[in-house]
């Protein structure tokens, strides 16, 4: 690990009951780096992403974010770090159904005690950047999958994170919709100078990253730099 490391995970092992999900996975991400994580269903790649986010703590091995070890932090401290420094984008958007699109995007700011009107203003700005400003007052049930992903990207980026973690962000979209969402995600992370780690089955998504890591049976192997 050196000064150009944003996130460093090494020797991660994680089991659910008796089922091992990770058996020694490692990954290092530099600032502004874009990494694809690939693997078959059940290979452990989503578990890896949740460990990188600090949502899950591994049974063995460790994750550090800018030199801070997750296992030396409380769950609250990790949650705060995640809200301030990271953006998460999941396959189906995972918007809160009771809130409007705008409220969903503003949520991470409100949790960080940003004043309500400033949060709404910033959230609106991000919706506009992602081309879905007109959906601000809609509920998640009223918008399409692609629109929900754009809202989820806005929510992930509204705090100006240094790291965006995305799990199959285009998994539920058709080819054209997936291309558009991916272009938006890349542009948005680039404009924030954020690094991006994307778990994906989609070769078109993987081809847009700097580097690919493949997860097989809970272990990582570098598949080589793409450029």
């Amino acid at each position: 690990m050196n000064s150009t490391t944003l996130l460093h995970a090494t020797g991660l092992q994680k089991s659910f009951g008796r089922t091992p999900a990770l058996r020694g996975a490692s990954l290092t991400v530099g600032p502004r780096e874009r990494v694809a994580v690939r693997g078959r269903s059940g290979s452990g790649k989503s578990t890896l992403l949740l460990c990188l986010a600090g949502v899950l703590l591994p049974d063995a091995g460790g994750v550090t974010y800018l030199g801070r070890r997750y296992d030396a932090m409380t769950a609250d401290e990790r949650a705060r770090l995640r809200r301030r420094e990271m953006g998460l984008v999941l396959q189906h958007g995972q918007l809160v159904p009771e809130l409007t699109v705008l409220e969903n995007v503003a949520l991470p700011l409100l949790l960080e005690k940003v004043e309500r009107s400033s949060a709404a203003l910033l959230a609106h700005e991000w919706l506009a950047r992602l081309g879905v400003a007109e959906l601000a007052d809609a509920r998640p049930a009223e918008i399409s999958g692609g629109q929900a992903q754009r809202a989820a990207i806005a929510r992930a980026l509204v705090t100006g994170p240094q790291l965006v973690l995305a799990d199959e962000p285009t998994g539920s979209l058709d080819t054209v919709g997936a291309d558009e969402v991916m272009a938006v995600l890349l542009e948005a992370t680039r404009s924030c100078d954020a690094a991006l780690v994307v778990v994906t089955h989609d070769n078109r998504v993987a081809a847009r990253m700097d580097r690919e890591v493949s997860v097989e049976d809970g272990s990582t192997e570098p598949a080589g730099a793409l450029r």
Binding site: A183, N203, A206, A207, A223, L226, R227
Partner: protein, 173 residues
């Protein structure tokens, strides 16, 4: 050219005459067009001229006398180089990917490494095409690129499933 290397690959398993080479080819590459005898002998002639195969005797088993060919050291080097090199991702010519992988498997060479390096080569071309597509606004150009990208994607999916199957087979044995 593919046929040269395929013949070298078949001869790497032991000396054979042209007739047996044709039969071995047609069995191994059952999905491909059967070889014509003329192709086999023309290929052997070229390979012999270049020093990649040599005559090691004749075989006369009831039928006409047939010349038996064997791989030379130079031929083996050429074959190994072919197996180690990723193919340039062509627009539709995935055949060569299949031929190379099947040959590597038959020889016990590291097929999964070839499949991995091929994936990197394919992704690199896909990256260039996606960048080109991002830059163009003309619909006709975009859908033409979509077509090429979709074929590359099909190759990539095949590389992935082939890698999974080769790995599963190796772990089982």
């Amino acid at each position: 050219m593919a046929l040269n290397h395929v013949v070298l690959g078949l001869l790497a398993e032991g000396p054979q005459h042209g007739y047996d080479l044709k039969r071995a080819h047609d069995v191994r590459f059952a999905a491909a067009r059967p070889l014509a005898f003329g192709q086999v002998y023309a290929t052997l002639g070229r390979l012999e001229r270049d020093g990649f195969v040599e005559r090691v005797g004749t075989d006369q088993d009831q039928g006409p006398e047939r010349v038996v060919f064997a791989l030379t050291e130079a031929g083996r080097r050429v074959l190994d180089e072919w197996l180690a090199d990723p193919e340039e991702p062509h627009r539709y010519a995935a055949d060569e990917l299949v031929r190379k992988t099947v040959t590597a498997l038959a020889l016990g060479a590291d097929a999964s490494r070839f499949l991995r390096t091929q994936r990197v080569a394919h992704l690199e071309v896909m990256r260039l095409l996606l960048a080109e597509q991002d830059a163009v606004t003309d619909v006709a150009h975009r859908i033409a690129l979509d077509h090429t990208i979709a074929h590359l994607d099909a190759d990539l999916r095949w590389l992935e499933s082939a890698h999974d199957r080769v790995t599963a087979e190796r772990n089982a044995s």
